[in-house]
């Protein structure tokens, strides 16, 4: 699948929500824990060799689950491949919890849920749709359930 790599690399150089050196272990059987610079930017987690400018890779943080493995470790698992875990090792319990929270909140879909919730709460409290003044009430992305039907499952 093609993707706009150059632009993604450019994105990886932008200021991040959170960045730290963590241990990172890939999902494959032989993978070992390695020290990586991990950067959270929008809904992507970029990871770099600690002395390099260009990222080794990026993980899109949608349709994934973040779990606490133990005091210092958390894992990211993608829903389509639940057996494959990316494991991260932090330096402290606090850091581990902070990263977990940050990654959960980094998904676009998570933000969308919040927005839908806020919108309906504000409507309930004030009787007004808060998005109306911006002329974006009808935008599909702000609806509680999108006007569009879900995509049909791919043919098997």
């Amino acid at each position: 699948m093609r993707f706009n790599e150059k632009e993604l690399v450019f994105l990886s150089r932008q200021p991040s929500e959170r960045a730290a050196e963590l241990g990172m272990k890939g999902p494959k059987k032989g993978d070992v824990m390695k020290r990586r610079l991990v950067k959270l930017i929008v809904n992507f987690l970029f990871y770099f060799r600690t002395d390099e400018e260009e990222p080794i890779g990026a993980l899109l943080l949608e349709q994934c689950r973040v779990e606490r493995e133990d005091d210092l470790n958390f894992s990211i698992v993608f829903l389509d491949e639940a057996e494959r875990k990316y494991v991260f090792e932090c330096d402290s319990k606090e850091q581990c919890l902070e990263w977990i929270e940050a990654i959960i909140k980094a998904s676009y879909e998570f933000m969308r849920k919040n927005l839908v919730f806020y919108r309906s709460e504000i409507q309930r409290l004030t009787g007004k749709d808060p998005l109306e003044q911006y002329g974006i009430s009808d935008e599909t992305r702000f609806q509680a359930s999108s006007g569009l039907p879900p995509l049909p499952p791919p043919p098997t």
Binding site: M1, R2, N4, K6, E7, L8, V9, F10, L11, Q14, P15, S16, E17, R18, A19, V42, E54, G57, A58, L59, L60, Q63, F78, L79, E81, E94, Q95, E98, E101, A102, K105, Y108, E109, M111, R112, N114, L115, F117, Y118, R119, E121, I122, L125, T126, P130, L131, Q133, Y134, G135, I136, E139, T140, R141, S146, L148, P150, L151, P153, P154, P155
Partner: protein
Amino acid sequence: MKLNERSVAYYATCSSPPDKTGFLLKKGDRNPAYHRRWCVLKGNLLFYFEERESREPLGVIVLEGCTVELCDSESAEFAFAVRFECTRARVYKLAADGAVAMESWVKALSRASFDYMRLVVRELEYQLEEARQGATSPWAKGRGKRPLVHGGGERCGAGGGGGRGGAHPRPTLCVSRASAPVGLQGSLSQDPEVSEEGVLSLGNLGKENGVSWNKPLGLANGVGEVGVSGMVWEGELDDGDGEIPPPIPPRRKTPGGSLESPVSPGTGCFSKLHDWYGKEVAELRVEWLQSQ
């Protein structure tokens, strides 16, 4: 650079509802001809498939740090372009099958970025905070809390997350730059009367006012609270290249049409409000001292 492509493709085809779908003509990566592609916009990702029934996308365009503009094309009518800021970046040329579709796609793509969504979420968080303060006595919540916080040093309303450097376009709540400003852009223009009380920022939403959701939303991404432990800010609000700061959100009006709190009249002016809160704090302090 590696990408978790399989999972990205899964996101494209999974049952979460897309933001927009339709056929678009897309100019080839190397081939200058336009090809018809089935396009699916989800969040900040534009996927394109060879056919509507295709199992996997041909590719994806990550829509961060880009602008969408109308463009003239000799080979296609109703053309528009997705342009990225980085040097030697690609320009993705697309064309819709009619004026209505074109406008609809341009709007949808302009608002697709994560930054934009975050902006709107923050705005609603702020409005919810206001609505809740209106609904209950301000004294039920944290004492001495200032509902109006001066925007200095924090990201005002329309600021993008993380105070990105000049290279990254600041998201605004307006439609694509090519079209005439609609509704929002007008209302976000600099209010010449903005005084201290008119500067609304989204700071101090407070963990105290955690929304009854499953996560403490007071800690949402990018909230300008330096106090939040561990948050790493790598950008600066002022990127120093003379770029105009994001426009301040319009003054909010209560149903009565003034900025005055329904609970504390005469406090339309920030300094009066400040004094009023200050008095209450002083009284509480005295009460406490007396109880010792």
